[in-house]
Amino acid sequence: MENLNAILPEIFISLSIMFLLILGVFKNDSSKITFNLSLFAILITTIITFNETYSVNRETLFNESVVIDSMSSLMKIITLIGGFLVLVISSTYLKTFKIYNIEYPVLILSSILGMMVMISSNDLIVFYMGLELQSLALYVLATYNRDQLKSSEAGLKYFVLSALSSGLLLYGCSLVYGFSGSTNFDIISNQLNSEEYVLTFGIVFILVGLAFKISAVPFHMWAPDVYEGSPTTVTLFFTIVPKVAALTVFIRFLYVPFLNLIDQWQMIIVFLSIASMVFGAVAAIGQTNIKRLIAYSSIGHIGYTLAGLATASNEGIQSSIIYISIYVVMNLALFSCLLMLRRKDQYYEDIEDLSGLSKNHPLLSLCLLVILFSLAGIPPLAGFFAKFYVFKAVLEQSMFFLAIVGLLSTVVAAFYYLRIIKIIYFDKEKDKYDTDHSLWLKFSLTVSTILILLYFIFPSQLIEVVSRINII
């Protein structure tokens, strides 16, 4: 009998999903209670994850197809907290669009379950199962506001393209299996031999599939449309939680099965990173819709996290994880602001709608100011430190080209963030927005802004947490 404690969180969350589904079927008008129960379920899962796995150094289950180590537990906790906050600030938005149904929390829970499986996977098949579980839930979530044409379009587009990338991924997996004779990461790692050039195809296919999932250039085309079309709360979910999971898988793939083939993939990652940083910065300049802009900015941010991965050092991996954690906080804060732009049951998502916000809503504007400067990477805000750690790791490996291109693209990116600040602070004011926001929304905005603002006082804590992760 295996020791199942380590996957207790996954078991608990699957049971909760089943229970909530049954509850939804048998109880009328149960959306409120499902919402609250699912929040509770996530909370409990987080606690279990923390208790059962946080101190585990490395443990494998089911013929080594599932791995529990410091990286997986940390990333699961980030995923769960992200999911919790997304769910908790969604309710007003969903009620406005009359889509406050039981399916929403259940879908979020199942995609979180999929991600947790992905994060822990140490086997091609387990990994693929997790990936598909989270993707299926995400397709539905993208179309969740089904009365709106854009939302349906987003879901369909996401489904078609994502299925294509899954196909590529599977093909890559089958090639790798063919050469190594196993689906287990550790065994693959020992079997692979860089002489086999067809194997490179396998790796490239897998990397393409993964790059699609984190929307790295040139596999980013779906992101702006899907982000724009999906309901805002779902977009928030898209921009943070699946990225954390996909990044973990990325790290796991690169540094466990393919570690010996570093010469083959390092250039690919450097290319993806540079392309994402530059393209994300340049393409965001012309946007008028905030959600589209965030899509491009998140492409840029993924570029920076990939820069950390390209270094092939523990320090680089740690810096990527720090980057994504700070990015999660910043995006959460940004979307909380976006969800506050509501006037008489209508949400506003054009950049022009922010015009002169500072006159009527000084506090909200101040938060946006902090968040945007942080996203632009201006010290002493958290966003700067995120970039700083990444470039510190990159420069340690003497990858000057990557560092300089990355830093120059922050200057370009600063331009479009400044443009939003300009619109908020320098332009003429418009009508007031409603101020009766839910307590949770205010809470998430306040906490995340304070974290961003005051991160510089205690920068060591996050580093300490992350420094336990030693993959190589």
């Binding site: 700067f384 340690e396 060591s460």
Partner: protein, 493 residues
């Protein structure tokens, strides 16, 4: 010294700004807000004066050092002052209260936010001048962009958005390369602590590239020709208090950076690149002086004169002579006072006439004599008349330059003449001549607060003009030591 005096200097304005944040802004009556801000700034000034008195002038080592672990086994929060930085700190704390008094007239809306921005700015600037760790320095150096961007963008004139963006992006572009250099230094030497770096030194083969990266940042901030173009735009569009901050303090960060980091960390590269700096400085002096002659906008004229003066500063620093560097530091302090004063004098007439064009004015001497006298003093100080602080700086710089390179010194001297030409011509057109513009007849002379501010600036300009010893004594040992360190470094190669 156990009391963290430097940290309190850095923190106090921020705490003041926090207090301001919680005071409600009332329409029309903002005295509480102003007094809180002024009180903070004045207390800070007094602390910095105490710092100067307690400062030991006989040693070049850093004093009042605070050293705390910040990011474990990587960066320490380390601050301290030596003879060079202490003067800049005092300049900062001296100019800020004057800025706050001057907002009476120039800032009409959102006064509270403006004062918050100024105070936070002060914190960052003091941080820049006292940081003894490259990364701490970078943090403060870059963070200053945020309040300045807002000051120009929110309270500026017609083309404020364009200027704010130009200012921000130019300086950010310059600085990111410096960040690459700082991280590289960390990997080369294993530390970013300036004091330790002075001792270990940096391998010669890296010095040139690193020097260039630092230069890219400092050149934009100084600003040196040809990357000076953000300065006139930013100056012209910023409100008076913003221009004063920009000219008096922000521009000094780069000059300070050149002395502290370029000379201190990369002595050999500094020697190598001296011709480059000479060329750019001389071009800046001559070229921008000529441009200044052609200006029709008073603020723009003063902005270009700032570029020319900063040209002298960079020239002086890289003469690597005792006189040259001392002259540069005094020139920076003096320029801080004089340009602040000039922007304020322009602000005075702008508040009354809402025009910065020289052609609007003429014959002011017959209606506002007090103003005209003070304006004359500042104009003369700007062109470096003996008896004003401007003279000491320029004279020492030229002395240093003559020792090092005769040709450069001769060309720079022509710049002095051009400087006299544009300043005197400006003064003539604004103050003398016939009073043609009818509106000018009703113009009021300086009010009490304006008179107070301008006298506060006039006093040190004259005092240090006749008696520069306090300044020179403070910097002497530090500069001598810096040069000795450079010479030994160069000799050993």
């Amino acid at each position: 010294m156990n009391f963290p005096i430097l940290s309190s200097l850095i923190l106090l304005p921020t705490i003041g700004a926090l207090f301001l944040f919680f005071i409600k802004e009332k329409e029309g009556n903002n005295t509480t807000i102003k007094y809180v801000a002024l009180f903070t700034a004045v207390v800070n000034f007094l602390i910095s004066i105490y710092l100067w008195i307690a400062f030991d002038q006989s040693t070049s080592s850093f004093q009042f050092i605070e050293d705390r672990t910040w990011i474990k086994s990587f960066i320490n929060y380390k601050v301290g002052v030596d003879g060079i930085s202490i003067l800049f700190i005092i300049l900062t704390t001296f100019i800020t209260p004057l800025c706050i008094i001057s907002v009476n007239n120039s800032v009409k809306n959102r006064l509270r936010d403006f004062l918050i921005a100024i105070l936070i700015m002060e914190s960052f600037m003091i941080g820049v001048f006292s940081a003894l760790d490259l990364i701490v320095f970078y943090l403060f150096f870059e963070a200053g962009l945020i309040p300045m961007f807002l000051i120009i963008g929110i309270w500026g004139g017609a083309r404020r958005v364009y200027s704010a963006f130009k200012f921000f992006l130019y300086t950010l572009l310059g600085s990111v390369l410096m960040l690459v250099a700082i991280i590289s230094i960390y990997w080369i030497t294993g530390t970013t602590d300036v004091v330790q770096l002075y001792e270990i030194g940096i391998d010669v083969k890296y010095q040139n590239l690193l020097w260039l990266a630092f230069f890219s940042s400092f050149a934009v901030k100084t600003p040196m020709w040809p990357v000076h173009t953000w300065l006139p735009d930013a100056h012209v569009e910023a409100p008076t208090a913003g221009s004063v901050l920009l000219a008096a303090i922000l521009l000094k960060m780069a000059g300070y950076g050149f002395i502290r980091f370029s000379l201190g960390l990369f002595p050999i590269a500094s020697e190598v690149f001296t011709p480059l700096i000479y060329t750019l400085s001389v071009i800046a002096i001559i070229f921008t002086s000529l441009i200044a002659l052609m200006q029709e906008d008073m603020k723009k004229l003063i902005a270009y004169s700032s570029v020319a003066h900063m040209g002298f500063v960079t020239l002086g620093i890289f003469t690597l002579q005792q006189q040259g560097i001392e002259g540069s530091i005094i020139q920076m302090i003096s320029h801080g006072l004089v340009s602040a004063a000039l922007f304020l004098t322009v602000g005075v007439v702008y508040d009354r006439m809402h025009s910065r064009l020289i052609s609007t004015y003429g014959g002011l001497v017959s209606v506002i004599p007090k103003y005209s006298i003070l304006f004359m003093l500042f104009a003369l100080a700007s062109l470096g008349l003996p008896g004003t602080s401007g003279f000491i700086g320029e004279f020492l710089i030229l002395m240093g330059a003559f020792k090092d390179n005769f040709l450069v010194a001769v060309i720079a001297s022509i710049g002095v003449i051009l400087g006299a030409a544009y300043m005197l011509w400006l003064y003539k057109r604004v103050v003398f001549g016939k009073l043609i513009n009818e509106d000018l007849k009703k113009i009021l002379d300086l009010n009490r607060s304006e008179y107070f501010i301008l006298s506060c600036l006039a006093a040190p300009i004259l005092f240090f003009g006749f008696y520069p010893d306090p300044l020179i004594n403070t910097i002497e040992v530090s500069v001598t030591d810096l040069i000795n360190m450079n010479n030994t470094n160069i000799a050993s190669k």
